[in-house]
Structures are given as C-alpha cells and as structure tokens.
Amino acid sequence: MKIVTGNDLKSGDVTWWTGSGWSRHIADAVDAGDEAEAILARESAAQRVNAAYVIDAERTADGIRPAHIKERIRALGPTVRLDLSLDPTATPERVL
C-alpha cells in the first residue's frame, strides 16, 4: 500500500491520511494508491498537513507495517521510550 504521512503544522504530531482527514494513529491510514501524490499536494496546499510524503507499507495481522524501519519507529515511538508511544501494546521487536 501507499500511505501518505506528514506532521501537523502547529503541534508537530505525526499524522496519517485516513481517506477523509488526518489521524495520529497509523491504524487509521488508508492505501492512497495512485492518488497519493495528488492528495499530498492538495492537503499541503490547504495547510492541513506539513512536510508530507508517501511511504510503502503492508497490512499485516498486527496492523499496518511500514516497509522501512525508520517509518516503523516513526509510527511506534522511540523504541527506548515506548511508555511515550501512542500504542499501549508497543514493543521494540515490532520495528524489526
């Protein structure tokens, strides 16, 4: 899948395109497919997202798994401070 991600301008929160808006939870992300770049451009121009980009990911039994370890850490939170993660079930192994 192609997911669009970015940050909220004012808060800096990592956000994920849900199909209708932006969520702080990667579980809400949708496959934007071929529309990804167009969505990115439109949402950036409207200032509903900042510093947006497209990433590869796949749906697994555990949820949406970004293809690259950096994006997995970005979705999960710092592996050394998972007490700060948005996901209460987060474990460091999930980023591997």
Binding site: K70, P78, L84
Partner: protein, 544 residues
C-alpha cells in the same frame, strides 16, 4: 559567569518577538515551509522523527542554577518530563509544539537563555572546556573569548546563509578537553614569546562523512584582532565554500581543496582589508567581560582532607572528581550514563535537583560536557560526601567517567530522521555488558562513542572505540572503528572490517576489550595498546 546587560536582554527579547511574528505568519499561511524552515532552525526548532525538537543553547556549556531549573520546568510544562544533553553542550527537547515555541523562548529569555542559531547554516553554539575556570592547566579562562565570539556571531547579517553549519570551539590549555581540532574553527588562547596573550586558529576540522583534523592556519592572532580575523575566515568560507553538494559544503572541504596555504593566503588578504574597516570591538569590551568569569569566593584554607571510609563514595571520587586549581576544592562530574540508561537524558526532577545542588555546593554554576555529562565545577572537598549522597539517591552517582560505561551516543534512529540505525539500544546493551564495576575499572579509560549515521553527531570518529550505525538493505548494521582520539593528539578511528548486527557489535566490543586486557603492558590505556600493536591483532580477534 556572564550576565546580560540591558542590550543583551533586549536582543533576546527582540528575538522572541521576531520568532513569535514569524511563527504566526507561518501558521496563517503567509510563508511556505521552505521559507520558514531556516527561520525556525535558527531558533533551534527541528522537525524531527516524532515531533518538533527544540535545541536550547548553553553558551560554552555554562549555566547557573536558575537557568538549569527553567530547563527542568520546560521539560515538564511543554515536553514529556525529560531533556537530552548533547555532544555540543546544549540541551534538546523532543516533543515540542510549534505553537508553544515562542512561549518557550520567552521563558528562556527571562533567565538569559535562548535557542539562537543552534541549528541552520550559520555559526552555532560556541563550545569550550567543561573545566574552564577550575582547571590548573589553563592559561586563562577561555570563556570570555567564547562570549565575545558569541555576541559577534549572533545575528551576524553576512553569515546567516552560509553553505552549511559552522562550529567553533575555544580552549586555553594544551590539554584539549573540547575536541577543538574537530571543529570548523578551533581556537586555543596562547601566550607568545613576548608573553602576550593571543589566539591560535585551527580551521577546517570536523567529523561527519569526511572527518578531518583542523590544520593550524595562524599561530598567533593578537586579542585586539580576534573578531577581525574570525570575520575574514568566515567571509572566505561564505564566498567560496561549496554550495553545489550538501556533503561537501563544510569549510573543511574548502580548506582541503584549496590547500592550507591558499586558504590562509585568502584569509590574510581579507584580514588585511577588514583591519581597515574598524569592525573590532575595543579591548575594553573584552576587559568588561573577563571579570564575569573571575574566581568565585573560594573559602581560604578549606580543608584538603577527604574522608574516604565509604567505599562507594571513594569509588565515585576516584572516577568522577578531578583536582581543582584551588586547594580544598574538586571538580565533580555527574554521570548521565546510568547502567542501561539513555546517555545524556535527564528527567525534569533530576535537572532541578542538579540545579539545587549547584546552588548549594558549586557557587551556583554547572557545565554541560560534550560527553553528555554535567559538571559542578567548584565543590569544596568537605561538601563532596553530602553532594554524593544526594546524587546517589537520585540515580546520578554512577562512577564511570571516561570509562567504557561513559558512552557517548547520539539520539539515533529512535529520535532522529537523519539516522540509519538506532544508537541508544546499542549503548544500553554495551553498558549492561560492562556493568560490573571491577570490569569497568580493570579496563580503565576507554571512550566509546556511537553515531546512528554518517553525520557523526555521536563523534564516533573520535572514539577510542567508535560505532557507526548504517542501513544495510533495510536492516540496522554497525561498523566498528578503533583508535580515534580527541585530545591534543587528535586522531581519527580506523574501521575494523565488515559490520555487525546489534548484538554482534556488543560481542565485538567485548572481544576488543578482552584482547586489550591480554596484550596491554603496564599502565597502558586501551588507546595506548592499540597504538602500539595496531589493528591487525584486533582484526584477527574479531573476524578470525
């Protein structure tokens, strides 16, 4: 330490107002992110892996208890209850909101602090020796010169769009405790044959992708030409530093490509011209700043005795305390590297405790070291035990300074969008592997530094043992290097060979230290043994 006059205070206050206006205009959509980015970077605000990160300046690593207390309060009020002390003597907060940033800068300005030029393509925080003002071997306190340069470099209109970042360090002793020659400009305050004090300029050092040791460009610049000479160095860089390739844009590349002689010639030409322009502050300005760094009111006749009957206390003194130039006093280093902990991190409570301890025991002064520890520079020997007890109760008494437990690590892929691999878990595992105090003590001095990418914020090139995290086909991998050193005998580490997995590199470090222990001759530190026997035996031990 330096105290702002009404001019300095007005400058930071104006900066807050300026950034508040810039932020409002960005949020209102009057500026694009590309237009805003350099502005927020030059106020210390990065958009990082998880959130905005704010890097607050600690000028030449010195701060007082009121300032330290505010740093703790900021962690609680605007962040998630902790801060990270960096390898450039600054502090970073990882979870800042843009909309709060102007208020945070306003809170900082109230205690004479700021985040000016802690990022961006400009002159950054000027670093110095964490033992300045306390070390017996310094010629003078280097910090007044750092303060003079700080003011010169702040908002310098010609140098706010340099090819790349620019880092300056100032020391005043032959023992280099600030990795001076690994800076874009390294300055050593020296005395010439006539007994005059001046500055030796080393230009073109740095780490990163192409580490280089700065060559000596000028061996003596008189104090009343310090700013003019610095300006000449910067102007040549601004005009001729490469702007075609981000990875070749530092001044070290310019000096390397021109050659030291040609770069020096160009600087001398610009210097001769600038001397006619009257840009140098009068010596009276330096003379105004110097008294702020005068010795504190030491207690004359303070006892030089130390009750070492508590073995844990004695251990801490032996590892973490250094001789002070004043009898009856010591320099105490607080380790922010507890076993298995995150190097350089401190909770808001710990930060406030250190503030209180500084006020009580160290004439209200602290230092941040580039090894990510905190120094209380002037502690009476008779106060050391009660100080240590307070530190011990707060998990701040780890007796591991300059040992393999005193790991320097950048935030790495856990926090940093530039990183290729995580560095903190590696540091934690190594720290745990070498947790046993007797093992630490047997190995002795060993500076281990970890960077999560080639940008080398962990200074791995200068590690006796260095670890560089790389991305090997989407998996984290770690290169090991040996023999780096940041002192007066600065050297850059040599890679051992193929990289290792996370667990593999921990084993590799142990193999390296085991070989050292079996090969060392009397009194040799790890670095000495390595320099004597070379890489080959280590390669053999690692790769068979």
């Amino acid at each position: 330490m330096y105290k702002y006059d009404q001019y300095d205070q007005a400058m930071v206050d104006t900066r807050v107002a300026e950034f508040r206006d810039q932020t409002a205009r960005r949020i209102a959509g009057k500026m694009t992110e590309d237009q805003f980015k350099p502005l927020r970077l030059q106020n210390g605000l990065y958009l990082q892996l998880h959130a905005y990160m704010l890097r607050v300046a600690v000028p030449y690593g010195t701060l007082n208890s009121a300032q330290m207390r505010v740093l703790g309060d900021i962690a609680d009020k605007y962040d998630r209850g902790y801060g990270h002390f960096t390898t450039r003597q600054n502090i970073q907060y990882n979870w800042i909101k843009l909309e709060d940033a102007p208020d945070i800068l306003a809170d900082l300005a109230k205690v004479e602090m700021h985040a000016i030029q802690t990022s961006g393509n400009c002159i950054r925080n000027i670093s110095s020796d964490q033992f300045a003002g306390a070390a017996a071997d310094e010629l003078v306190d280097p910090r007044p010169y750092a303060e003079l340069l700080r003011q010169w470099s702040s908002f310098h209109p010609e140098f706010l769009a340099l090819p790349r970042k620019f880092k300056i360090a100032v020391i005043a002793s032959d023992t280099d405790r600030a990795a001076m020659r690994l800076h874009d400009i390294g300055i050593q305050i020296v005395k010439n044959a006539s007994g005059e004090i001046g500055a030796a300029f080393y230009v073109g050092g740095g780490m990163g992708r192409t580490p280089m040791i700065a060559p000596l460009i000028k061996d003596f610049v008189p104090l009343d030409q310090l700013i003019t000479y610095s300006e000449a160095c910067l102007r040549v860089y601004n005009r001729y530093g490469r702007r075609d390739n981000k990875y070749k844009a530092r001044i070290k590349i310019l000096v390397h490509e021109l050659g030291k002689e040609e770069y020096t010639r160009q600087v001398e030409e610009e210097f001769a011209h600038l001397l006619t322009q009257g840009i140098e502050p009068p010596l009276a300005e330096l003379e105004r700043i110097i008294p702020y760094f005068a010795d504190p009111a030491y207690e004359a006749g303070a006892s030089d005795e130390l009750d070492r009957s508590d073995p844990d206390f004695a251990l801490w003194v032996d590892h973490n305390c250094h001789a002070h130039k004043q009898p009856g006093y010591m320099v105490a280093t607080i380790s922010l590297k507890p076993v298995g902990g995150i190097p350089g991190d401190a909770s808001a409570d710990q930060i406030r405790l250190m503030a209180d301890l500084a006020k009580q025991y160290s004439f209200d002064e602290l230092r941040v070291t580039h090894a990510q520890n905190i120094v209380l520079p002037h502690v009476k020997k008779s106060d050391l035990y009660t100080l240590w007890q307070s530190l011990d109760a707060a998990g701040l008494s780890t007796p591991n300074l300059d040992s393999i437990g005193d790991i320097i690590a950048c935030p790495g892929l856990d926090y940093c969008s530039l990183a290729n691999a995580r560095s903190i878990p590696v540091a934690q595992k190594i720290s745990e592997r070498f947790a046993a105090q007797d093992k630490l003590d047997t190995i002795g001095e060993l500076k281990l530094k970890i960077s999560g990418c080639i940008n080398a914020c962990g200074h791995h090139h200068a590690g006796h043992i260095g670890i560089l995290g790389v991305d090997r086909k989407g998996t984290e991998n770690y290169q090991l290097s040996l023999g780096g050193c940041e002192g007066a005998d600065t050297s850059l580490g040599t890679i051992t060979g193929p990289g290792f997995s996370e667990d593999g590199v921990v084993d590799a470090v142990e193999k390296v230290t085991d070989l050292y222990l079996s090969e060392r001759k009397d009194g040799e530190r790890f670095l000495d043994t390595y320099r004597r026997i070379g890489m080959a035996p280590f390669k053999e031990a690692l790769y068979g």
